[in-house]
Amino acid sequence: APLAPEVDTMMLAEGYLRNFYGLETELHPSFKRKITDSVSEKLKKMQSFFGLKVTGKLNNETVEMMKQPRCGVPDIGE
């Protein structure tokens, strides 16, 4: 069955932040809160890099930026 749009968007965001901003999502489920905090922090870094409004939240502008074709090299050092 097709995924709900918001699930699809969240998966896109997590994949993007994992690939380009070093988000670690392989944590135990009990650390879910920690993941949420981490996503917010990484989103802030990404929004800052691209000159977007830094909210730590997944808004339309951020998703639009994540959908653009790009280089596979991370934006922050590994």
Binding site: R70, C71, V73, G77
Partner: protein
């Protein structure tokens, strides 16, 4: 610009490269030429040389790869991630991988191999991604006219910080991205589009949403890959949901077939070679065109110029000189001239105030 953490660099200035395989999307000779030119982008500005070899291990190995190709950085199919490269170093260091599932071209269709290769080679030489949206090392893909390509100054500064200046007697320079709050900033064209304001300057475009304080600057080609730089006038026809752009004697309309057309088809005399500014009044369906010190009025319903035009700009809008850009917002007309803009009330036919051109950006 941003350097890769630890500042890795090649210990020698004479480097070799090898093209392991080629995409079937392009003729082999075109692949080789695109990659050769991508190397020249960098060798033109720093004392590095790149020699192509056909066999054995080269410093920089370039290949087209499919999905998971064993380096821990898989591709995921068309779009998304286009390519990646490794920082200077032995073995896989410096190597460039292109996603074979993309459509590679030597023009604006699909993804231009030269543009992507030049970007990746920046990584191969020690550059990280730059947040400057006009730079080659910006992470997102944007087509640029390859015949007119000049390495942006941000990238020149970055690569010269690693390898030093070019050996050429005159140091190369490149285009710089305009600063949003530069007090001397002027615009080529300004228009609304579906609730946003678009400000054009050279090959750049600012997007401003009335409810959002931040302003995004991007290359025009990031949104319209085939649109040329240097748009001279633009307006939105709200009723037809069309975005009309002008450059020279050409009219371009987004997402509509049958264009480009010539401006003379609107009813301009042959002596008019270009339009400086335009805006459309959505209430009256009249579009105003500014050319030198005169303006014309076009009836969008009748599809013809109104009689009695052109008129002198000074007779209606006051002594503002040549108009660079114009748009209508909340019933007022904003006329941009140099680094200033005049807010004009069409009901009272009075100038309300004169503002800095960048006032919309919260500068």
């Amino acid at each position: 610009y941003v350097l890769i953490d630890g500042n890795p660099k090649w210990p020698r200035n004479d480097l070799t490269y090898r093209i392991i395989n080629r995409t079937p999307d392009m003729r082999p000779a075109d692949v080789d030429e695109a990659i050769k030119q991508a190397f020249e982008v960098w060798s033109n500005v720093v004392p590095l040389t790149f020699r192509k070899i056909e066999d054995g291990a080269a410093d920089i190995m370039m290949s087209f790869q499919f999905r998971d190709h064993g380096d821990g950085y898989p591709f995921y199919g068309p779009h998304g991630t286009l390519a990646h490269a490794f920082q200077p170093g032995p073995r896989i260091g410096g190597d460039v991988h292109f996603d074979e599932e993309e459509t590679w071209t030597k023009n604006s269709k699909g993804y231009n191999l030269f543009i992507v290769a030049a970007h990746e080679l920046g990584h191969s030489l020690g550059l990280a991604h730059s947040p400057d949206p006009g730079s080659l090392m910006y992470p997102n893909y944007a087509y640029r006219d390859t015949k007119e390509f000049h390495l942006p100054q941000d990238d020149i500064n970055g690569i010269q910080a690693i390898y030093g200046q070019s050996l050429q007697p005159v140091q190369p320079t490149g285009p710089s991205t305009p600063r949003t709050c530069d007090p001397n900033l002027s615009f080529d064209a300004v228009a609304t589009l579906r609730g946003e304001m678009l400000f054009f300057k050279g090959r750049y475009l600012w997007r401003k949403h009335p409810q959002i304080r931040e302003t995004e600057i991007n290359l025009i080609s990031q949104f319209w890959p085939t649109l040329p730089a240097g748009i001279q006038a633009a307006y939105e026809d709200v009723e037809k949901d069309q975005f009309v752009l002008f450059k020279g004697n050409t009219i371009l309309v987004s997402l509509v077939h049958g264009y480009p057309k010539r401006i003379h088809q609107l009813g301009f005399p042959k002596t008019v070679k270009r339009i400086n500014a335009a805006f459309s009044d959505k209430n009256t369906r009249k579009t105003y065109f500014f050319v030198a010190n005169k303006y014309w009025r076009y009836d969008e319903n009748r599809q013809s110029m109104d009689e009695g035009y052109p008129r002198n700009i000074i007779s209606v809008f006051g002594k503002i000189g040549k108009v660079d850009a114009a748009f209508q917002h909340d019933g007022y007309i904003y006329l941009f001239h140099g680094r200033k803009q005049t807010q004009f009330d069409p009901n009272t036919k009075q100038v309300v105030r004169v503002l800095k051109s960048t006032s919309w950006f919260g500068c």
